[in-house]
C-alpha cells in the first residue's frame, strides 16, 4: 500500500500537500542528495568490517591502517553530510509549518459569520493544531525519512543478494512480515491512542468544570456524585490506557523478535555455508551486520506508510477549510462607503440562516440618520438578525440593505465596517491590556481619546481601580471582569472607532442600579449624532429611543413613538405592561 492511499481523491490530496513543498524544491533536492551520501556511508560500514575480517584472516597486517583510515573518512563524511542534511531539511520543515499555519489562519479570518455559526471553536482548533501537526510532520520530516529508509532497505537488499542470494532469501523472508506487522501496529494503535487522548480530555473536562463550578458543586452538596463521575471517567481512561498498553506489550516485543529469527537463520545456514566454503567468513560477518542494520528502517517503513495515510486524511480536513467558499467578501469593483449622515434602508429584505427557514420576511425599513431606534420583540422575532445585516455579517437572500444610498454588497467590507460600531450582548474581550482592547478598532487613538471613550461608557472609574489601570491584562490570563464591566469596555471600544452607525445589543447586565443609570446617561451622549440601533430588552432602554420598531416573526409589526404604540400595537402593549412592572416610576411620567 502506498502513502497515496487507495482512492484517487486521497492521492489528489497527497499531491496537493506536496505542493506546499514547491517553494523548497532546491533545499529538498540538496537534502535528498546529502541523505544519499550519509546512507551510503552507513552501507559501507559492514562491508569495510568484512574487509577487515578478511585482512585479519589472511594476516595482511599492512592492509589494516588503510582500512581504518577509510572507516574514519567514511564516518567523517557521513557526519558532515548529516549535519548539512539536518540543517537544510529542518529549516525547510519549519518553513512548511509556518506556511501552512499562515495559510490556514488567513483563511480563518476571511471566513464569514455563517461558517463560524456552523462550526465549533474546538473543531477548528483541531484543524489548526492536531491536523496541521500531522501534515507538517509528514511533509517536514516524514518524506525525507521515508526516502532514507527506502534507500537503506533497497541498498542492503542489493548487497545481501550480491553476497549470497540464497542466504539473502532466507534471512529477508521475515521482512515483508515485519513491514506488515509494523504497519498493522501503527494503524491499530493510532485510533486507540487517539481514544486515550480523548478520554484524557474527558477527565480534564470533569476536572475543569468541578474547579470552575466549585461553588455550584458545594452549594448542592454534590461532592460525592461528582467524585463518582470523575472516577467513572478516570476508570474509562484507565481501561483505554490499558488497551494501548496491551497493544504495545504485544507488538513491540514481536517486532523485535522477528528479525532475531532471521538472524538465527543466518547464523545457522550461513555458518554451514562458511564451513562448506561457499561463503567467506568476512561475508558471514558483513551479512550479520547488514541484517541488523535493516531492521529499524523496515519497521519505520511500516510506520511511515501509516503516518502518510493519516497526514493525507489530516490534509483532507485542512483543505476542507481552505476550500470553503468565502461567502462574504468585498467585490472586485467595490468602492469605499460614500460619506453620509448614516441613513440605513432595508428594502424588501428576506433572510434566513438556512435559506429554507427564513427569519426575516420582506422587511422594508428606513432608519433615520442620527436617530435612535429601539428594536423590540420576543425571542426569535429577528431583532439581532436584522441588526447584523447592517455590517454585512450575513448577506440578504432577497432585497438589499443600503447605507446612505450604497448597497452594503457594493462597498468594501473594510470601509463599511469601519463606520459601524457593534456592541454585543455578551461582549468578547481579548486577553490583552484594557488599553489594547479599547483601541482594538482604532489603533491610532491617543490616551486622551481612550480615556474620554472610557468616561462616556462609565468605565474609567473601575479601570482606574484595576491593579495597573489601563495596562491591566484582562481575560483568561488576567483579571476577570464582571459582565457589566465587560459591557462598558465594549461600549468604549465601539465609541473609539467613531462610527457613523452604532449597534447595541442592550444588556447592561449585572450592574447595580446607580451604575446602570450612569451608563444610560453616558450612552445618550455617545449616541448623539449617530444612527443607533438598540436591541432593547428593557423599558429603561426603550425610553432612550426616538423611535421604536416592533418585530414579530420576522416582520415589522409596528413602529412609532411610545404613545403611539401603546395605542396601536398589541405586542408593544404587552411588553410594556409587563416591563413596567420593573420600573415603578415609568407609568406616572409616561
Amino acid at each position: 500500500m502506498s502513502p497515496e492511499g487507495e482512492t484517487p481523491r486521497n492521492s489528489a490530496t497527497f499531491w496537493r500537500l506536496l505542493r506546499f513543498l514547491a517553494p523548497y524544491r532546491t533545499s529538498l533536492a540538496v537534502s535528498v542528495v546529502l541523505a544519499l551520501v550519509s546512507q551510503s556511508g552507513s552501507l559501507a560500514f559492514p562491508w569495510l568490517t568484512g574487509d577487515v575480517v578478511s585482512a585479519i584472516r589472511d594476516h595482511r597486517r599492512n592492509a589494516l591502517p588503510a582500512l581504518i583510515g577509510v572507516v574514519l573518512a567514511v564516518g567523517a563524511t557521513k557526519a558532515l553530510a548529516t549535519i548539512g542534511r539536518r540543517l537544510i531539511s529542518g529549516r525547510q520543515a519549519l518553513g512548511v509549518e509556518l506556511d501552512l499555519r499562515n495559510v490556514l489562519y488567513a483563511k480563518f479570518v476571511r471566513l464569514s459569520f455563517g461558517y463560524f455559526d456552523r462550526h465549533q471553536t474546538g473543531q477548528l482548533m483541531s484543524r489548526a493544531t492536531v491536523d496541521l501537526q500531522s501534515v507538517r510532520f509528514f511533509l517536514g520530516y516524514g518524506l525525507i525519512f521515508f526516502f532514507q529508509h527506502v534507500f537503506t532497505v533497497f541498498g542492503v537488499g542489493v548487497l545481501l543478494f550480491v553476497i549470497s542470494w540464497k542466504l539473502a532469501l532466507i534471512s529477508l523472508a521475515f521482512s515483508p512480515v515485519l513491514v506488515a506487522v509494523a504497519y498493522r501496529y501503527s494503524s491499530v494503535s493510532h485510533p486507540v491512542l487517539r481514544d486515550v487522548q480523548q478520554k484524557m480530555a474527558d477527565v480534564a473536562t470533569v476536572a475543569e468544570e468541578n474547579i470552575v463550578g466549585v461553588h455550584v458543586v458545594k452549594s448542592f452538596a454534590q461532592e460525592q456524585a461528582q467524585q463518582d463521575k470523575f472516577e467513572h471517567r478516570s476508570e474509562i481512561l484507565f481501561s483505554r490506557s490499558l488497551r494501548a498498553n496491551r497493544q504495545r506489550a504485544f507488538y513491540v516485543p514481536l517486532l523485535a523478535f522477528m528479525p532475531l529469527l532471521g538472524q538465527a537463520a543466518v547464523l545457522l545456514v550461513g555458518g554451514e555455508m562458511v564451513r562448506r566454503g561457499s561463503l567467506s567468513l568476512a561475508h558471514f560477518v558483513s551479512f550479520n551486520l547488514y541484517l541488523s542494520m535493516v531492521v529499524f528502517p523496515l519497521r519505520m517503513l511500516g510506520m511511515w506508510i501509516g503516518e502518510g495515510q493519516r497526514a493525507t486524511a489530516s490534509g483532507e480536513r485542512i483543505f476542507q477549510v481552505i476550500d470553503e467558499p468565502e461567502e462574504i467578501t468585498s467585490r472586485p469593483a467595490a468602492r469605499t462607503l460614500p460619506a453620509g449622515p448614516g441613513t440605513v434602508r432595508f428594502e424588501r429584505v428576506s433572510f434566513g440562516y438556512d435559506p429554507l427557514l427564513p427569519v426575516l420576511h420582506e422587511i422594508d425599513l428606513e432608519l433615520t440618520a442620527g436617530k435612535i431606534v429601539a428594536l423590540i420583540g420576543l425571542t426569535g422575532s429577528g431583532k439581532t438578525t436584522l441588526a447584523s445585516l447592517i455590517p454585512r455579517f450575513y448577506d440578504v437572500q432577497k432585497g438589499s440593505v443600503k447605507i446612505d444610498g450604497a448597497d452594503v454588497r457594493e462597498v468594501t467590507l473594510e470601509s463599511l465596517r469601519r463606520e459601524i460600531g457593534v456592541i454585543a450582548q455578551d461582549p468578547f474581550l481579548f486577553s490583552a491590556s484594557v488599553r489594547d482592547n479599547l483601541v482594538f478598532g482604532a489603533a491610532e487613538a491617543t490616551d486622551v481619546e481612550v480615556r474620554e471613550a472610557a468616561r462616556l461608557a462609565q468605565a474609567d472609574e473601575f479601570v482606574a481601580r484595576l491593579p495597573e489601570g489601563y495596562d491591566t491584562v484582562i481575560g483568561e490570563r488576567g483579571v476577570t471582569l464582571s459582565g457589566g464591566q465587560r459591557q462598558r469596555l465594549a461600549i468604549a471600544r465601539a465609541l473609539l472607532v467613531d462610527p457613523r452607525i452604532l449597534i447595541l445589543d442592550d444588556a447592561t447586565a449585572s450592574v447595580d442600579a446607580a451604575t446602570e443609570s450612569r451608563i444610560r446617561l453616558g450612552l445618550l451622549e455617545a449616541m448623539r449624532g449617530r444612527t443607533t440601533v438598540i436591541i432593547a430588552h428593557r423599558l429603561s432602554t426603550i425610553a432612550l429611543a426616538d423611535e421604536i420598531v416592533v418585530l414579530e416573526h420576522g416582520r415589522v409589526a409596528a413602529r412609532g413613538g411610545h404613545d403611539e404604540l401603546v395605542g396601536t400595537s398589541q405586542v408593544y402593549r404587552e411588553i410594556y405592561e409587563h416591563g413596567s412592572f420593573d420600573q415603578p416610576g415609568r407609568r406616572e411620567v409616561a
Binding site: 577487515v52 557526519a79 540543517l87 477527565v203 555458518g271 420576543l378 420593573d582 416610576g585
Partner: protein
C-alpha cells in the same frame, strides 16, 4: 496524536524547577510514590523481575553472534548449533519477558495514577471555597491533568528506562571487560567525549525546547482566542493586523525551533562520528590484538554489537534527566495541594441537621478573609422563616460575603450564625447544603444533558420531577428549540444556551433540589423581554414558602422583598420594607428613589 482540548492553552507549562532537594523532601516524595505502589506489590514485583530478565536476555545476542563467528571460523559445527539454539532461547525469553514487563509496568503505572487522580480530586472537593478563591482555576486544573501526566511519564516509562539503560550499560561494560579488557578500555575512550557532548546538548536543548513550548503555546493561545473572538475581529476590520500578529507569533516559534534544529544537527551527527571512531578502534586496535593472538575475530564482532549498547543508553539516560526533573516538580506541586487543609470542616461531633424551618440569625458576626481586613463588622440579623430578604448595596459592601456565610462556605471570625437556633459550626456541611439552594449570577452548566443539569442537585430525581421543575420555571418553553430537547448535550463542547436560558436552568435546578433556604445572586437583565416574565414567575414560584436571600439588582425584586438590608462597607445601615425605607429618606432612598425618578 493529541486531540485538541478546550482550554488546554490556559494550563500552565510544565516546569522543571525543583525547589527542595533536601533528604527530608526526597523521603517525602519516595514515601508518596511507595504509598501509591503498595497496593500493587505483586504486580510491581513481577514487572521488576521481568524487566531484569528482559534486559539480561537482550544482552545475549551480540555475545552469541561473536561466539558463532568464532565457531564458524574454527569449523565447530556442533557448537554453532548449540549457539543458535541459545540464541533462539534468549530471543524467546527476551520477547516473553519484555511482553510481561511492558504489560505489568503499564498496568501498575496507570493504576497508580488513576488512584492518585481520584485521591487528588476527592481532596480538592473537600477543600473550602477559600482555597479556590486563592488559587487560579487553570493552575488547579493543571494539577489534575498536566502534572499527573508528567508523573505518568516517569512512572510508566521513566523507571523502566532508568533500570534498563543502567543495567545495559553496566552489563555490556562487564561483558566487554571480560571478553577483552584491553579492547574494552580502548573503546571506552570515546565515552568521556560522548558524556560531555550529551551533557552540553541536554542543557542547551532543554532550554530551547522550553522556548519552543512557550512560543507554541502562544501560537495556540492566539489562534484559540482569535477564533473565539472572530466576530469582533471582523466587525472591527482587524483582519490585517491579526494576520500580521499571528505571523509574528508564528515566526517567534519558528526562530525558537530553529535553535533546536541546529542543536540536533550538531549533536546527533557528532554522536554518530564518535560511534564511527569507536568502530575504527574496535577494528584497528582489535585487529592487531587478533594478529597478536590476544583475542578472536568473534570478540570483535561482539564488540561491534555492544558498542550500540553504549551509545543508546547514555543518550536515553540523559533524556531521562529532564523527564525526572519535570516529574519531581509535578509531584511536589501535587503534594502541595494534598497538604492543603480545608478551613471549614465538620466538627467531630457534628450532627446532621433536620428539616429546616429557615429561621436565620446572625449574632455580632465579624468576618475577614484569611489575608485581609475585616469585611463584616458585627452583623446582627433576625430572619423569620419564609422571609424574602433582599441584600442591596454597592459592590464590596459585603452582600455576597453574607450569602457565603449562610451557606457556611466560610466560618465567621467571631460571633455566630444560627439556623433554627442551631449554630452552623455544629452541623454537618452536607446536611446543611442539601437544604440550601444557591443560584449564582451566571448559571453554570456542566457537560451533560439538559436533564442531568437540572437534576444536578438531586441526581435521583425522576423524569417526571425533572419535567415538572422545568415546566415550573419555563425551561419547557425553549426546550422545543433544542436539537434533542432534554437530552441535548450542554457545556463547553455542547450546545450553547443564552444567558437567560442558563438562568432558567439554574432556577429549575434549585427548584428540583427543593431547598429550605434559597440564596440567589440575581442577574439583572441577561434575559429577553419574553423570558423576563417567565423568570419573574419562576422566581415567585421558587421563593414561595422558603426563606430567601437575594443579592438583588432589580427594583421589582427589591420592592417585593419582605425585608431589605442596605449594606455599606460591611455594616447593615438600614433595614425594612421598600416603603419604610423610602419614607426614611436615607441611603436606600438615595440609591433607589433617584433611580425610580430617572427612568423617565
Amino acid at each position: 496524536m493529541r486531540v485538541w482540548q478546550p482550554g488546554s492553552h490556559l494550563v500552565s507549562n510544565r516546569s522543571t524547577r525543583v525547589e527542595d532537594w533536601s533528604w527530608a523532601a526526597t523521603k517525602r516524595r519516595l514515601t508518596a510514590l511507595y504509598r501509591l505502589a503498595r497496593p500493587y506489590r505483586v504486580r510491581t514485583t513481577i514487572a521488576i523481575i521481568s524487566l531484569l530478565a528482559a534486559t539480561a536476555a537482550s544482552l545475549a545476542p551480540p555475545l552469541l553472534i561473536g561466539r558463532a563467528v568464532d565457531a564458524v571460523s574454527g569449523g565447530h559445527t556442533g557448537s554453532l548449533r548449540l549457539l543458535v539454539v541459545l540464541f533462539i532461547v534468549a530471543s524467546v525469553v527476551g520477547t516473553v519477558c519484555s511482553y510481561a514487563q511492558t504489560y505489568f509496568t503499564g498496568w501498575t503505572g496507570e493504576r497508580m495514577l488513576a488512584d492518585l487522580r481520584h485521591h487528588l480530586f476527592s481532596h480538592l472537593q473537600r477543600l473550602s471555597l477559600e482555597f479556590y478563591e486563592q488559587n487560579r482555576a487553570g493552575v488547579l486544573i493543571s494539577r489534575l491533568t498536566n502534572d499527573v501526566e508528567a508523573l505518568d511519564e516517569l512512572v510508566t516509562d521513566g523507571f523502566t528506562s532508568l533500570i534498563q539503560n543502567t543495567l545495559t550499560l553496566l552489563g555490556a561494560g562487564v561483558i566487554l571487560l571480560v571478553l577483552s579488557w584491553r579492547l574494552a578500555l580502548a573503546m571506552m575512550v570515546v565515552l568521556p567525549g560522548l558524556s560531555v557532548a550529551t551533557a552540553i546538548f541536554r542543557k542547551k536543548s532543554s532550554r530551547s525546547y522550553r522556548g519552543v513550548r512557550e512560543t507554541l503555546g502562544a501560537v495556540t493561545a492566539t489562534l484559540a482566542e482569535d477564533i473565539a473572538g472572530i466576530r469582533v475581529l471582523q466587525a472591527f476590520t482587524r483582519e490585517r493586523q491579526a494576520r500580521a500578529h499571528f505571523r509574528e507569533v508564528g515566526e517567534a516559534y519558528r526562530i525558537k525551533n530553529q535553535e533546536t534544529v541546529v542543536q540536533n544537527a550538531l549533536y546527533f551527527p557528532a554522536v554518530d562520528l564518535l560511534s564511527s571512531i569507536a568502530t575504527a578502534i574496535i577494528l584497528g586496535y582489535g585487529g592487531y590484538l587478533v594478529f597478536d593472538g590476544q583475542t578472536k575475530i568473534g570478540v570483535l564482532v561482539a564488540f561491534l554489537g555492544y558498542s550500540a549498547n553504549f551509545f543508546d543508553p547514555v543518550q536515553q539516560l540523559s533524556q531521562l534527566y529532564s523527564t525526572f526533573l519535570t516529574a519531581v516538580a509535578a509531584l511536589d506541586k501535587i503534594m502541595e495541594v494534598l497538604a492543603a487543609e480545608p478551613r471549614v470542616t465538620d466538627a467531630p461531633d457534628a450532627t446532621a441537621i433536620g428539616r429546616l424551618r429557615g429561621e436565620v440569625r446572625f449574632r455580632d458576626v465579624h468576618f475577614s478573609y484569611r489575608r485581609g481586613a475585616e469585611v463584616l463588622h458585627g452583623i446582627e440579623l433576625d430572619v423569620p422563616p419564609g422571609t424574602t430578604v433582599a441584600l442591596v448595596g454597592h459592590t464590596g459592601a459585603g452582600k455576597s460575603t453574607i450569602a457565603k456565610l449562610i451557606a457556611r462556605f466560610y466560618d465567621p471570625t467571631s460571633g455566630a450564625i444560627t439556623i433554627d437556633g442551631i449554630d452552623l459550626r455544629t452541623v454537618r456541611q452536607e446536611s446543611l447544603r442539601r437544604q440550601l439552594g444557591i443560584v449564582p449570577q451566571e448559571g453554570f452548566l456542566f457537560a451533560g444533558s439538559l436533564a442531568a443539569n437540572i437534576a444536578f442537585g438531586r441526581p435521583e430525581a425522576s423524569r417526571a420531577e425533572i419535567l415538572a421543575a422545568a415546566a415550573a420555571v419555563g425551561v419547557d418553553e425553549f426546550v422545543t428549540t433544542l436539537p434533542e430537547r432534554y437530552e441535548t448535550e450542554l457545556g463547553e463542547r455542547g450546545y450553547r444556551l443564552s444567558l437567560g436560558q442558563r438562568q432558567l436552568v439554574a432556577f429549575a435546578r434549585a427548584l428540583l433540589a427543593d431547598p429550605r433556604i434559597l440564596i440567589l445572586d440575581e442577574a439583572t437583565s441577561s434575559v429577553d423581554i419574553g423570558a423576563e416574565r417567565r423568570i419573574e414567575q419562576a422566581l415567585r414560584r421558587l421563593l414561595h414558602g422558603r426563606t430567601a436571600f437575594i443579592i438583588a439588582h432589580r427594583l421589582s425584586t427589591i420592592r417585593n422583598a419582605n425585608l431589605i438590608l442596605v449594606l455599606e462597607e460591611g455594616r447593615i445601615v438600614e433595614q425594612g420594607s421598600h416603603d419604610e425605607l423610602l419614607g426614611r429618606g436615607g441611603a436606600y432612598a438615595e440609591l433607589y428613589g433617584r433611580r425610580a425618578a430617572e427612568v423617565a
